[in-house]
Symmetry: D2
Subunit: 260 residues, 4 copies
């Protein structure tokens, strides 16, 4: 297989300047290893734990920033979509559409995303068995789209916590589609802070190393220059200044796993 790619960014778009700063930091982090980088950010956090938390910049401004990032830095850009009607619009601005885990069984969303022809990163629902992702992928395949990625991001394990079942990575790979490991949301503690989700940042690099040893096509890791003040997923984000070292470590495990 090819070396791992990195899908990374600030989770939620904060401003054009912030997105540019994060993108530049990640390009630097990926440079020493020559790691392929896809910039990820959300224009709308459509399923926050509670209403009082920040949802983001909105679709129009968000997509403009993403499209500008793509033009300025020449990097592919990924964002997540929440309604069928948004897919074609988002597809004008980005290179990869992401299906959120909660929505991975919504047929119309999968079809609308598939019909854009863009690459589709489908997160496995926290409630779904790894082997059931073949039915999910088949919905996108039915549109003729053959650019699918399946993404592990943790499975429900009691309340307010997730567990990563690494048997799921080879199981999902049996579909033939590349598998992505989302190290950020796999260490999320959903609803764990009452009105918002907690997280265990310290375990994200641990699980990412394990995923590389098992074998994956890409890592998904959210980052921030000040995770404790990030508007969402701060508790499970990696500090931007730590990304270069982490990418270096993960690439070493990836090369060993793939015999590169």
């Amino acid at each position: 297989g090819a070396p791992i790619a990195l899908i990374s960014g600030p989770c939620q778009l904060e401003s054009a300047a912030h997105a540019r700063m994060i993108c530049e930091g990640l390009l630097e982090a990926c440079a020493p290893t020559g790691t392929k980088f896809i910039f990820k950010a959300s224009y709308d956090k459509a399923n926050r734990s509670s209403l009082s938390t920040n949802r983001g910049l909105g679709m129009e401004m968000g997509l403009r920033i993403l499209s500008d990032i793509r033009a300025e830095y020449g990097v592919p850009v990924l964002t997540d979509v929440h309604e069928p009607g948004h897919c074609a619009i988002a597809a004008e601005a980005v290179d990869v559409l992401q299906i959120p885990a909660f929505l991975c069984r919504q047929t119309d969303l999968l079809l609308a995303a598939g019909e854009t022809g863009l690459a589709i990163n489908i997160k496995k629902g926290q409630f779904l068995a790894p082997w059931d992702m073949k039915n999910v992928a088949a919905k996108v395949e039915s549109t003729g789209n053959r650019r699918i990625m399946l993404c592990e991001r943790g499975t429900s394990f009691g309340y307010n916590t997730l567990v990563t079942d690494f048997r799921g990575l080879p199981t999902m790979a049996e579909t033939g589609w590349p598998v992505v490991f989302d190290a950020t949301h796999s260490v999320q503690q959903p609803g764990g802070l009452g009105g918002s989700s907690g997280g265990q940042r310290q375990f994200a690099p641990v699980l990412a190393r394990a995923a590389c040893a098992v074998g994956v096509s890409a890592l998904f890791i959210e980052t921030h220059e000040d995770p404790d003040t990030a508007p969402s997923d701060g508790p499970n984000m990696i500090h931007l200044r730590d990304m270069q070292a982490l990418v270096g470590t993960l690439c070493a495990f990836d090369r060993l796993a793939k015999g590169l």
Copy 2:
């Protein structure tokens, strides 16, 4: 509290004649106990396990049948909605909008449903702790809507199965909103048949009795005159001819629990 109500119907709309037959059967089943009955049916199964399964009659024909049922029999009617834009349309035809479990964190859907002013039955996500439903309800409350029900339908427990945690019923009741127990989907085995979900019909009455003993405001039980050929959720449906006896039993437990 008031005696339990029954939310029941064929899961998926099959035809006007079929809906009428089921509705009549349920009215008969509820008559001896004087149980309040809400007819439930879906016009679109928007999140089936796989694409090859039947999605239903579609919105326009489905809503017409539901509205006719309401007019003909004078029963309140419930259906589920999957996109914010569908809420106002469905609200013309039905009395209760239901938020599917997978979608219980989708803010826009909750707001759009709440804004119709209709009663909203929110299913607890299989991935959600009972105490986190207060944040979900708060999204609907923010619209000024004070007609909310919270519905238990099972929690992820390993793969392809659910468990019902009966501690969740009093926990959700602490919000002050009435709690519904969905005995049909609580015994679902998601994805358990490969391309569709399995179920354990034999346990639905068992868990329904337990729920009444714990104390709930309503039971949600899907039914069919021939469950093994029902287009969806057949494996966990109760046979229509068994509904009257079941309602009688459940009312007895309910009266005992509530001292009625």
Copy 3:
């Protein structure tokens, strides 16, 4: 079926006077409903969360107290055993031997218990599926002992918590052996207090009502005159003064479930 029996007592023996006081309180609690009562107490808490907690009075003094309770009040007495070599000794003093949940797969313990000829109450391991209890029971059956009870006490559900799967009660009943529901340990939070286990006392009556509605042969409920100072399982014990009302409620649900 026969009306439910009650297995109850102070968890851990504290003194002869304390055991007598609890036994008298429970006899009073059971009198109005004529409920059959089995006194339960442990002489040794052999698997506490941590070493610093109290293990109890020890085998010799403990068995003497239990045997005195039996003689004085004419009630059957139950205690738990932890090693094969202890079974015959304990069998001199008590009427029912209990196999702890953690030990339900230990063949030698099951055989030694079975060979005493006493009734054996086997707790289902927190790690065991209900249908696997038939293999456990078969170990005792192999000794010729036909006095077996299978007891639900919660199943692992994430960390530091248990869930009660009420489908397990009818599943275990398929063995033909009577099923007991342990309402006290089902609401335990193992290790939840760091050096000891926490619990959710408020849910014990809730789950006990549900068990009676589902249908069981006996309830297992630990009690104390001052649960917050009990040497073990205090957080999930029912106050002794509340037992009579609880037994009354549970008997009502039991009669309804059994058509008595």
Copy 4:
């Protein structure tokens, strides 16, 4: 840290000749990487799923074989103990005593094992949180024994299956004691074959690689020259002829993780 050690053997002792054959095969498998090897075998499978399955050679013959293996090959030998009274006896024949997962809370067994002064490998219960192993270790520490290993072997996840939570490895390492990963029992499916446990052999190397990438002190992997006919744990055993390649791969991940 030091390079990983390998704890390996045939699960259940079959005969002296068989033990010698397996030991020789494992010495060969470990030679190219110079991996430290501890021979593991059980003289008694004391907690089989059902009574009809084979328990092994018994204590006397089993310990003699283990002691002969130690003398003949100069390798340290590990076996598991199930009763306090067996610890001192087994300690005559072996170098490491292992506490089975189901028994990891049994205080007397932990104390008796600790008092032998031998190294103690404690398997984490399938029902226990990783952070609760510090209380378990403290029981052994209380005997003055400072030769403790903590072993991950999977956590209950629904019924008849386990999941490996790799966050548990660094969590247990916080105790200061070396952490072992048991790749064989982590892929067990307890009770999954009705009267015996199933397993997913194909995932044992996958999880073992992940464990090395996370960082462990030793790997525990059972092996057989014909796994499908092994008297226990066959479905999750690695074929003896595959062990050398596997050890080589795991050592490479271990060196990378430890910077060796």
